[in-house]
Symmetry: C2
């Protein structure tokens, strides 16, 4: 199920995944970034101002109509290098474990990543964006407009993370 | 590929989907809401204060550890009633078409919905939340903590939408 060779760290817990899948995904494009090894990726998107390119497959390119008027987008992509069975895990650089659903780690039952990006330019089926931190060649799943009215929650708090930094 | 019986509206464009899927998803729980017909669902989550329940399957329940300290969560779910081949579409109540990736419509190549919810209570493998607008019984794909530092963009603009309301 996984090509993650790091094994399980102390305190981590794996579950048994179902034998079959319930639904299927189409890869609709690829993300091009400067990072070809996981160790080189920024720890989160705010750590890098690098411009990245999202290339949408020709079959889906017409779906980009009107996207140039979106200042920010949600990019959903597939973290295909991550193991999927960890329910409790300890990310790199962390001393303690947390439940998978309280983390943004790539290791999760459905490794769908979610990043908010700033849309810099549109050229046919290629978007130039700022705000990604994934490996070069990562498969693209979806693009959505960012609506501040429903998506922006500046007051949101993650207690375990706030305690860690405090 | 679809049980959407509404067909294609004037100006909408469908593409040819690939014959095979590239990756598979596990449904990790179900979402319980007051709405059993699409016509009854709120048009967006801000239109309803209804409390909804997210039930995580026992195999994944340990992944909820520490989630109670998250004020807001991202809920990713599967819109399994939507057709997947539309690249240009005209949502209900709209006069004009837009590219699929400039819309939050459920009809998209990978019908993964994304909603920010307020976490109200945690009881074992059941979360009470506010801010969903989906059908009762919708399959759950993922839960993620909302980090204001990377996810909140109050300044974001969607030009076609702003022009429509202006």
């Amino acid at each position: 199920m996984s090509d993650d060779t790091s094994g399980i760290r102390e305190g981590e817990v794996a579950t048994s995944l179902p034998a079959a899948f319930d639904a299927g995904l189409h890869f609709i494009g690829r993300i091009h970034t400067p990072w070809t090894r996981r160790a080189d990726c920024p720890r989160n998107a705010r750590e890098s101002d690098a411009l990245c390119t999202i290339e949408v497959s020709p079959a889906f390119a017409e779906g980009l109509a009107d996207i140039e008027g979106c200042s920010h987008l949600w990019v959903l992509y597939w973290m295909d290098k991550a193991r999927r069975d960890l329910v409790r895990q300890r990310p790199r650089h962390y001393d303690e474990t947390h439940g998978t659903f309280a983390l943004r780690s790539p290791a999760r039952p459905n490794p769908i990543a979610l990043s908010c990006v700033e849309l810099v330019a549109v050229d046919g089926n290629r978007l130039t964006v700022r705000g990604l931190d994934c490996l070069d060649g990562t498969p693209l799943l979806d693009l959505k407009p960012y609506f501040a009215s429903t998506d922006a929650r500046p007051e949101a708090v993650v207690a375990w993370h706030a305690a860690r930094r405090g």
